[in-house]
Each structure stands twice: as structure tokens, then as C-alpha cells.
């Protein structure tokens, strides 16, 4: 989908001590759902936090619908009115119900009129299928329900830019499918940036995918283009093919190999988003903790 840019990120760099979390990242987002993939420590969360204005970049600029997210407070405030942000982790204040949590966030989003705010909270609860848990204390909700509640606050006010860090973590397949429906609707009218480890979410939901590694953009294109980078490099065979970057025995008993060259009896198979992503990053152990 080609549209006027909603987000323009230009040369954004962020350093934490000796670690360069973002290295001159330049990215433009129009309407639609964009997947942000990358291993732990790649800089995804830093990019998400910088874009959401929760963290200031070291250098570079970010514009959201023409407003400077890195500018003066008035400009930053205008940007904040345009975004819905789901951090990777959301802690809920003690003793709150699902409704009162969203009510609290809605006040912070400048919904001053009580009746209108309560109606908006009910709408957001409905979007994540939690209407029947409005009066439930957050601590009594399951992990998936809490994640959906955290996501619901991002929907308050129906902002044109949604910045979501791992929104599907802890959701069961049915909930994830439901959430995809909600996000694709949001993507029809605005921009959704979805940082995730779930390549199946990217395959099912995103028109575009950005792969971040070591603070730099390694790939930016359509999901089909990403998959195409692995064409002819994924094999099914009885044994691992020579030079494979990664391989595993599947449920059918055959070995799926990514990369390498075809050995005897190996047949090329259709690559998935995950195959292409793994091939792009290469086979290497991931650090245990995100750098930022």
C-alpha cells in the first residue's frame, strides 16, 4: 500500500554507554501493518521506545504526520496525541480493575469528559473481547487477558499510529487470530508498527517487513520479497544438506535445511518467512538479554 508517510524516521542513532542500540536508522511508514523483526538485542525495543517518545534519540529526527517527535514539548505532545503505544512490559497498578486501568490511561490521553471517556473505554474493551471482564481485578485476569488489556489502552482514541511491542505474547492461537483481525482493520486507516518474534504473525498480517540487526536495518520490503530471498535455499532431505546454516528433523521424519547446497535426494521446498528471516540473520546464538 503506497500512501503519504505517517512516520518519517531520519538517521536516528541511540547509544547506551558502549552499546550502539540504533545506528543511523532511516525508515518511512505509511498506512498498513509493518512487521519489525530482529533478534534480541537488535534494537527493536529501542526503536519502538524512541518512536513512542518514551526515550529521546541521541541524534536524528522523527516526524509523525508532520510533527517533530524529537522537537519542543508542544510538538512532542502533538505527536503523543497521534500514537497508541504498547510497551513490551506493562505493569498494572495494584487493585485496579480492567475498566479502571483503561479509564486511568484515557485520562492521561486527555479524555476529560467522563461519559465520553467511559464510552471509549467500553469500546476499547470490546475491541479486545474483554467487555465481560470490565469489573474484574487485573490480578484475576489470565496472562493473555492482561496482554489484551494492555493492548486495549493503545486503541483508546483510535490513534493513526499504533506502536506495538510484542502484542501477541501470551495469547493463544484463537486470540492471536482475533487480534490480527483488529490490527488489520487499524492498518487500513493508519500505520501499525508491530515489533515481534512471531514470524507467523508477520506472514499473516503484515504487508511490509523491516528486519533490524545490530541497530541497523538489514531488510525493508514486502513479506513476499523477504520470502523470495530464501527461494532455492530451503531443502527437505533425509539428512542435513552440506553447508546448511540451520536444520532440524520435521514431524514427517525428513530434515528441513536452510541454506547450503542440495545433497543427494534433497528437494527444494517453499520457504517461509521464518526461513528467510533465519537465513538473513545467519545461524548464531542469540544473546540472552536485550541490550536496550
Amino acid at each position: 500500500m503506497t500512501t503519504a508517510p505517517i512516520v518519517e524516521i531520519d538517521g536516528v542513532t541511540k547509544r547506551f554507554g558502549a552499546t550502539l542500540a540504533l545506528d543511523a536508522v532511516t525508515l518511512t511508514l505509511g498506512s498498513g501493518v509493518t512487521g519489525l523483526l530482529g533478534p534480541n538485542g537488535a534494537g527493536k525495543t529501542t526503536l519502538i521506545r524512541v518512536l513512542s517518545t518514551a526515550e529521546a534519540p541521541g541524534s536524528g529526527s522523527i516526524r509523525v504526520l508532520g510533527h517533530e517527535a524529537t522537537g519542543r514539548l508542544a510538538e512532542r505532545t502533538r505527536v503523543r496525541r497521534l500514537i497508541g503505544y504498547l510497551p513490551q512490559e506493562v505493569g498494572f497498578p495494584r487493585g485496579m480493575t480492567a475498566f479502571s486501568f483503561l479509564d486511568y490511561i484515557a485520562v492521561l490521553k486527555e479524555w476529560d469528559d467522563t461519559a465520553a471517556r467511559h464510552a471509549e473505554v467500553r469500546r476499547a474493551l470490546g475491541l479486545v473481547d474483554l467487555s465481560d471482564r470490565a469489573s474484574s481485578r487485573v490480578r484475576t485476569l489470565s496472562g493473555g487477558q492482561r496482554r489484551r488489556l494492555a493492548l486495549a489502552q493503545a486503541f483508546i482514541g483510535d490513534p493513526p499510529l499504533l506502536i506495538l511491542d510484542e502484542p501477541t505474547t501470551g495469547l493463544d492461537p484463537e486470540q492471536r487470530a482475533g487480534l490480527r483481525g483488529v490490527l488489520s482493520e487499524r492498518g487500513a486507516g493508519g500505520a501499525v508498527l508491530l515489533a515481534t518474534h512471531q514470524t507467523e504473525d508477520v506472514a499473516a498480517l503484515c504487508e511490509r517487513v523491516v528486519v533490524l540487526a545490530d541497530g541497523r536495518i538489514r531488510f525493508d520490503g514486502t513479506v513476499a520479497d523477504l520470502v523470495a530471498t530464501a527461494a532455492g535455499q530451503v531443502w527437505l532431505s533425509e539428512e542435513e544438506v552440506p553447508g546448511a546454516r540451520m536444520s532440524w528433523r520435521t514431524g514427517t521424519g525428513r530434515v528441513r535445511s536452510i541454506g547450503g547446497t542440495a545433497g543427494p535426494g534433497a528437494e527444494a521446498t517453499e520457504p517461509s518467512v521464518e526461513d528467510a528471516y533465519l537465513l538473513m540473520l545467519g545461524h548464531r546464538p542469540e544473546p540472552l538479554e536485550e541490550a536496550a
Partner: protein, 274 residues
Amino acid sequence: MSVRGGHADEALLLRYRDDACDPATAASVEAHLPTCEACRARLAGLGRAPVVDVAWGRVVAAIGTPEPSPAVRLMRRMGLSEADATLLRAARSLDGSWTIATIAVVAFAALAAIDGGSSGRALYLLVAPLLPVIGVVVAFSSSDSLADLISATPYPKARLALLRTAAVCAASVPLVIAFGAAVPPIGWLAVGWLMPALALTTLTLAAMTWIRPATAGGAAGALWLLIVAAAFATDDVGAAVASGPALGYALVSAVAAACLTVRLKSAHEPGGPR
């Protein structure tokens, strides 16, 4: 109720739409509608009278909007707006465990002074002004589980800062004064700490526009520790809050408040992005 396969039939829905059902039947329809999306959709398709729409909206709002919590109701009775009460309801430094911790610390400090020794009075004087400071730091600490989320909302952080600070002080100051007044050896120190508390809290808030809340609070705490220790060394704890130093605290408060105002106007938020 005329039901086919567990649903209200069209004739019944039409009568209900036109308010022509007897009360018992209408009550049955109303009990069924919230649980049946199909019947609601069919009723909507029949073109509900506007009065029904309004009534339905009220029912949905009433069912879907829980009562405000006792804490919010209490704050509203104290004169806070509904939005401000909703904001303060979530402040970690105002929850029950914080209040219990404050009571425990103040009680300990006040009881330590009960024998009239200068070390006990010094402990009370050391602790009293730091409680509001700690409350403010906790309210803005990056370890606040919602700090990330809050910083990305458009709500004016300066207002939030002042609201939280006022609430923290309202929650802790009366407690500290009450405990101090209840222990005779503490004497006028029970209110003497108020001026340094104002200076330290304002200073911490202003510093938080440059540095992280915990660092700002730690620096303010260290500064106050030095002042109380110096007074304790002269065997006159009250000297730390005598009229001379009190003027100094007033001056520091004024300068810090002016500094905070300037910083807030130029886009810097306590606990905001660094």
C-alpha cells in the same frame, strides 16, 4: 414469550419495539437481548424507535461501567475532580502499602525520640522531610511499572508532577506532624521540618528535569543527611531548622521552584525522556 429455537420471534420484537408488550413480556425480552447478538441485530433491523436507542445506550453504559473505587469516591468527596481522582488512584506512592510503610518509618523515628535524647530527635528530623521526597521519587521513578506508557501520553507531565507531589505531601505530612506532636521531646521539631521538606522536595523535582528521579532524590537525601549530621555534631539538632537556616530553605525553595517552572516551560519533564 414467543420463541423459535431460543430466539424472540419477529412479532414479539415488533411489539417490543413499539412498547406494546406487557411488563412481564418486556422484562423477558430485556433479559434475553443482552445475551443474544442475533436478536439484537434483528431488533436493530426492525428500526428501533429513538427512545429505545437512548434507553439501550443507557443500559449498556450502566452495565459496562463499574462503580468508581472507594479511593476515587473519597477523593471526589475531598473536592478533587473526577479525572484527577482517577489519576491519583493509580499513583504507587499513594497506595495502602506506601501509607503503611510511612506510618511504620515515622512511628519508629518518633519512638526513638521518646527518651529525649538528641540522637532520637536527630533521627526524627532526618526522616521527616525525606518522606515526601521519597514519595515524589517513587511516583516518578523509572521503575514505575507504567512509566514508559505514561511518558508517551499527551497529559501535561508538569501538572501530573504537581498533582502527585501535592497528593504525596497530603498523605505523608499530617502523619509525620501527628507522630511528632505525640512525642513530647520532639517539641517544635514536629513542624520545624516542614521548611526543609519544601526545599528538598522542590529541589528534587527541579533536579529530576535533568537527572533520573532516584539520583535526584539520593542527592537531596545526602544533602539533608549532611545538614542534620552537622547540627547533631554541635549537640543542637534544632539548629538545622532554626530561623536562620529556615530562611535559607525558603530561598532554596523559591529558586528551585523558579528553576522548575523554567525547565517545565522549555520541554523538560520530571522523569521524562533522557
